[in-house]
């Protein structure tokens, strides 16, 4: 029982982080057919933003305030990653419309440059971020200890998801976004500024990646290649979940996170990954477009 609870909890914890990373990917891919390989580096940027916030608190503010740096670090990470995303969209992504494979390669180049930039600025070795003391310890549930840090991350992800839901389905901007996603030309004809929608969506997706980076600082030291560990799994979430609906991404993340932890527990880390991959390929035999696919009558969607 304890083992099951712990494994499920770990699975949920992994899923929540994957979800945070995959959200931005799924939205930008659904909207613009752009695969952003630099997404992992936006996570890294979020993580280093948290690190910098911590350092500023450490150097300039009284000790008693230190624990609260994390509360500020979340919006700071979001904003910095948001800005990077905005710049990236305006300067590069917009040249790559309708060329998904090319966008993938070009953004990989961006990722390479950003990683090297981080290495030049912060040094190649990993840096540690001290977690706030109010996140130490954990709660005991059915005989297993669930760390506060992971619970906090799950809560953070739930909040982000809720915010995204309201943004996409309950706001004017979100309605425009969905319109562009469904039929770009028609939305454009009806006066939606697709350029603006694209830029905003891309930047928000990047910002969420920044939050993911911030969350990752709670789990261990961070380094310039932080994002690369997660990015391929996050892409798999997109493939598995399908694009166009939030719920698809959530299901994809849960599926990969839970199965990954389970298989890794039953076998070992390397075999677990193989099994997950085989499961995904098997699943795609049944639903080639993932859990949730946007219905469309166009042939080349």
């Amino acid at each position: 029982m304890e083992v099951i609870v712990l494994q499920l909890f770990n699975g949920l914890s992994v899923s929540s982080i994957l979800l945070l990373i995959a959200l931005g990917l799924a939205i930008t891919f659904g909207l613009m057919k752009v695969i952003n390989m630099a997404h992992g580096e936006l996570i890294m940027i979020g993580a280093y933003s948290t690190y910098l916030t911590q350092n500023i608190f450490n150097d300039y503010l009284p000790k008693s305030m230190f624990d609260w740096y994390f509360v500020l670090a979340i919006p700071v990470s979001f904003l910095i990653a948001f800005l990077f995303g905005l710049i990236l969209e305006m300067s590069l992504i917009r040249f790559l419309y309708g060329r998904p494979l090319d966008s993938l390669l070009a953004t990989w180049g961006v990722g390479l440059v950003l990683q090297q930039l981080a290495r030049s600025i912060f040094g190649a070795p990993n840096v540690a971020v001290t977690s706030p003391s109010w996140l130490d310890g954990g709660v005991t549930f059915l005989g297993s200890v669930l760390p506060y840090k992971r619970l906090f991350i799950i809560g953070l992800v739930a909040l982000t998801l809720l915010a995204m839901y309201f943004y996409i389905y309950r706001s004017l901007e979100g309605r425009r976004m969905r319109a562009v996603m469904q039929n770009r030309d028609m939305a454009s004809c009806l006066g939606v500024s697709t350029r603006r929608v694209d830029a905003m969506t891309f930047a928000i997706g990047s910002g969420i990646a920044g939050i993911a980076g911030c969350a990752l600082t709670l789990l261990g030291p961070i380094g310039p290649s932080l994002g690369t560990y997660y990015i391929v799994d996050a892409f798999m979430v997109v493939v598995l979940g399908g694009v166009g609906k939030l719920v698809g991404t959530v299901l994809g993340a849960l599926g990969i996170g839970v199965f990954n932890t389970m298989f890794e527990y039953w076998t070992n880390a390397s075999l677990g990954k193989v099994l997950v991959f085989i499961c995904i390929v098997a699943f795609l035999q049944w639903r080639p477009m993932g859990f949730i696919a946007m219905r469309s009558r166009s042939l080349d969607s």
Binding site: L96, W108, G109, L112, M236, V238, S270, V274, V281
Partner: protein, 364 residues
């Protein structure tokens, strides 16, 4: 058009260029020292991958970020043979360190050189066929396929690292001494291996060229430009995609085998995400859709890498990232595209525009 092509001076120049390139390549051992020759041999091994990758990317429109794996599996097959040859009937050293007392069953047949070579081609091909069968048939393509190939890279490398006792783990397989009874490090063997590599490169090049010029190649290009239209005409694109992807993987496997002979080591880090994507970059820089461009791109990039990456490691990464962005955004057809744009006469431009028009407007 055929006769015109045969007689045109451009065509003659092109043939002369190929002949000169081949002559230079085969006579390189005369004027390069051993170190340089070994380096060039490595580049040529890489250059074998490029036309194969170009077949699927430039001609069929499938982007694989998993060719490092096919390359690596070929390399491992050869490395297993070389390791057993070097151990001379005893257990390979890394197996002893990991606590194995007996040679695993799947290592045993690799004592045979012919079997190892066969496996170096068949294993990558089988893996590619497996992935291709389960994806192309369901019309999983484009970015989805690319992501799956990348996931394949991750799991294969983690598997190789994880099963240390059987694969040598992170260190890979190294410490070779002999091939078919001959010392692998002697200059004579090295020179012979260089010629073999050059010959294989030429053979692969001719094979790819044959594929591209054949009816089959026409269908491939049609799939790239309008997969659904090809399907409606009555072809099954999945079969073509599977065949070409498998062929491309087999070529990468051959390249991997030759690579290991020149470099003397194969490890998971040489076949991971970054090497796989670098292979794509060679093709992108050289020019997708032209075989010679792809091969030259591979040699050029690897030469640049070996010249600059050790002296300016930071600058090299910036350069690599920058080149990626610039080539993809501004030079989608690579250096070969640039050359043909600058060189060829207007008639060609008009023709290519017409071709392009045909893609945009189905009615034409």
């Amino acid at each position: 058009m055929l006769t015109l092509r045969k007689l045109s001076p451009q065509r003659l120049w092109l043939l002369a260029g190929y002949a000169a390139a081949a002559a230079t390549m085969f006579s390189a051992p005369m004027f390069l020292n051993d170190f340089r020759l070994n380096l060039l041999a490595k580049f040529l091994a890489f250059a074998i991958v490029a036309p194969g990758l170009d077949l699927i990317w430039g001609y069929t429109g499938i982007l694989s970020l998993g060719h490092g794996i096919f390359f690596g599996l070929g390399a491992y097959a050869m490395a297993m043979y070389l390791k057993l040859e070097a151990s001379g009937g005893k257990l390979p050293d890394f197996m002893g360190w990991s606590g194995l007392s007996e040679l695993p069953w799947f290592w045993k047949p690799f004592e045979n050189f012919g079997f190892a070579v066969l496996m170096g081609i068949l294993i990558p091909a089988a893996l590619a066929l497996f992935l291709g069968f389960f994806t192309f048939r369901n019309r999983i393509r484009g970015v989805y396929f690319t992501i799956l190939t990348q996931a394949l890279v991750i799991i294969t490398t983690t598997l190789l690292v994880g099963q240390q006792a059987y694969t040598g783990g992170t260190n890979g397989v190294t410490g070779f001494s002999k091939i078919l009874g001959e010392s692998i490090a002697s200059p004579d063997t090295k020179r012979l291996l260089y010629w073999v590599t050059a010959a294989v490169l030429v053979a692969v090049f001719i094979l790819c060229r044959y594929v591209v010029k054949s009816r089959f190649g026409k269908v491939l290009r049609a799939i790239r430009d309008g997969e659904n239209r090809v399907r409606f005409i009555g072809y099954n694109p999945a079969v073509y995609q599977m065949v070409i992807f498998t062929l491309s993987a087999a070529i990468a496997g051959i390249a991997g085998m030759l690579f290991v002979l020149h470099v003397g080591i194969i490890s998971p880090s040489m076949m991971g995400i970054v090497p796989s994507i670098e292979m794509v970059l060679w093709v992108a820089i050289g020019g997708r859709g032209t075989l010679i461009g792809a091969a030259l791109g591979a040699v050029l990039m690897n030469w640049a890498k070996s010249e600059f990456s050790t002296t300016y490691p930071e600058g090299w990464t910036y350069f690599l990232g920058g080149v990626f962005i610039l080539v993809v955004v501004f030079l989608p057809n690579g250096l070969a595209g640039l050359v043909s744009k600058l060189k060829f006469s207007k008639s060609r431009e008009v023709r290519s525009e017409a071709e392009h028009d045909g893609i945009e407007h189905p009615a034409v």
